[in-house]
């Protein structure tokens, strides 16, 4: 598997160059091209899902990395033919679907009857569940790190440097939870500019303590591993992988903001039917169980738990395990469809102040 920096990182120019290099290759009918996020995440997907599923179907699947839903948009709008399936967060798929750049998924082909409620949508077949958590450096705080968002935002009780995401996603939810808003009321409060400003003000209150605004999962994992910051927001799976790698890092599920990732198909791909069948194959519980061995992102197919395809100890580490899920709130993609641009501009404004 190639692991180069995501296209996003090398800018817009490189995106179009990427298209050029891709479009020169021609692919046979039994070949699919899938793109994902790279790093430990895609490694797990590749070994646990992409390649075994391809083998089961007797087709060839080629992998690459990409920079997110905007790459899909650029590809569809420029008429390039670069990949057939992409791995994406639910929010990304939702906005892509609203833009009309994605194929509607055919759930008569893809079986989602055993999916956890809400873990699939018109444009995205859910594959794994992850959480945004507050992770802390155990060298700095031992076991008594920030076990709630209120702790994360409390610089008196927990002095030290922090990192937050350079993008708005799931950061405002964390800020409002810290500000005392109940899990179930978060999106009610956020459903106005005042609510967004309230969340931003909460972040402003600790801004001098934010040493880094991270832009990728690999980066926040590295920040913890290197001890560059004492705590950060980030994806649970990345921290678990970093911990296996020797990083002194811990987190509490009480800070979890659950979100899910799935597969979508860009509009107008030639191999649409095969792509649909391939996604259906990937929804099978055994692949999800295998994937979860590599990174702690839990299955969307509840058969994994029902058929005991995962060891209990491993299952307990998954964000979607009932014991963990009960502490957490779930991210709502419809809020992002409505407020993302406004919230994102305000977030950038806050960052540049």
């Amino acid at each position: 598997m190639k692991s180069f920096i995501t296209l996003k990182k090398v800018g817009v120019a490189a995106v179009s160059l990427g298209f050029a290099s891709f479009s020169t290759a021609s692919f046979a009918d039994d070949t699919l091209r899938i793109v994902s996020w790279g790093g430990a995440y895609q490694k797990g997907q590749s070994v646990g899902i992409f390649q075994p599923a391809a083998e089961a179907m007797g087709i060839t699947v080629k992998e690459d990395t990409y920079g997110g839903i905007s790459d899909v948009k650029l590809m569809v709008k420029s008429g390039a033919d670069k990949f057939d399936i992409f791995s994406s967060g639910a929010g990304g798929c939702a906005s892509g679907g609203a833009e009309g750049i994605l194929e509607k998924l055919d759930y008569s082909v893809i079986d989602v009857s055993n999916h956890l409620p809400g873990m699939y949508s018109d444009y995205c077949a859910g594959a794994d569940i992850f959480s945004v958590v507050a992770a802390w450096n155990t060298e700095t705080y031992g076991d008594n790190g920030p076990r709630s968002w209120a702790d994360f935002f409390d610089v008196e009780k927990f002095p030290g440097t922090r990192a937050m995401r350079a993008k708005v996603d799931s950061q405002l939810e964390a800020a409002l939870l810290a500000d005392g808003v109940a899990k179930e009321d978060i999106y009610k409060v956020l459903d106005s500019e005042e609510g967004i400003d309230r969340a931003l003000d909460k972040i402003r209150s600790i801004k001098p303590h934010i040493a880094v605004w991270w832009t990728s999962g690999a980066q926040h994992a590295q920040l913890m591993k290197d001890g560059e910051v004492d705590m950060t927001t980030g994806w649970n799976g990345r921290f678990d992988v970093a911990k296996l790698d020797g990083a002194k890092v811990a987190y509490d599920w009480k800070t979890g903001i659950m979100d899910w990732e799935g597969y979508g198909i860009p509009k107008g791909v030639k191999n649409k039917d095969l792509a649909m069948k391939y996604i259906a194959e990937m929804m099978k519980p055994e692949y999800m169980a295998e994937f979860a061995k590599y990174i702690t992102y839990g299955p969307t197919n509840k058969l994994v738990y029902e058929l005991n395809l995962m060891e209990e100890a491993r299952a307990r580490q998954m964000p979607s395990h009932p014991e963990n899920a009960k502490h957490q709130m779930t991210l709502r993609t419809d809020w992002y469809a409505k407020w993302r641009t406004i919230a994102a501009e305000k977030y950038t404004e806050m960052m540049t102040e």
């Binding site: 905007s70 650029l74 040493a211 880094v212 001890g227 950038t348 540049t352």
Partner: protein
Amino acid sequence: MVGIEQNFNQAELAQLARREHYTFFGLTLPYLVLVGAMIIVPIGWLFLLSFIGRDGSFSFENYERMINSKAYIRIFLTTFKISILTTLFCALLGYPLAYFMSQIPRKWANICMIGVLIPFWTSLLVRTYAWLVLLQKKGLVNTVAVDLGLLSEPIKFVHNTSGTLIGMVHIMLPFLILPLYANMRAIDPHCVKAASSLGATPVRAFWTVFFPLSMPGLIAGLLIVFVLCLGFYVTPAVLGGGKVIMAAMKISSNIELYFSWGAASALGVVLLVVTMLILFIASKLVSLDQFGQRS
């Protein structure tokens, strides 16, 4: 009858001269086509796109957004601040080095030049991450300095403006040195000798003769560095730690955010216009022609 206007081969010679003109024009044609296809057309296209709103119709929304949000003006200010500072530091570091190289025998200068150019052969990304590894809180520099007792606590070199500047100056330095060194090499060493024979102290000879003669190279280097800095993406993204947001980064994130070229190209258009304005003012303040050397 052969008149005085039409000597026997005048027409043929005139045609020959015309053909020569066409040949010269023909030589520049590939370049003109390239400039047209690769620069003028895309910039024009960018300009048009910047007036297209999210719904695909003509609109000023991309520009309105920039006026309404303070983030944009701050990002432009950061972009110019970082670019100017980088250019300045490059000049301060690069000028003495280029001067030194221009004064030593060519053989040694070539070896120095390899030293200057080696970083060029390494990917920008690798160099940028190398600085991160060296300079972060528990990086090599801080660890060694703290262990040796030179520092009581680590210095924050990276994830801020200073880190961005260190990385960018390192990457940009060759772009300043190359034109400057070429210019300095071309300065007649006898000019400085003449100055000192006429009574100028070495310092005086440098400032009244060598420095003015090196100005074309310096200005060329400064312009190249400044303009390249304006479009920097990777280094501020990695070493700025989100504290340094430059125009190119916002351009990229706007594509992601708005799914439209317009939201990004409007930024590009403003950057281009402001840059041209700055260069125009600069060219008025420092007349390039003044340092022109035709001999």
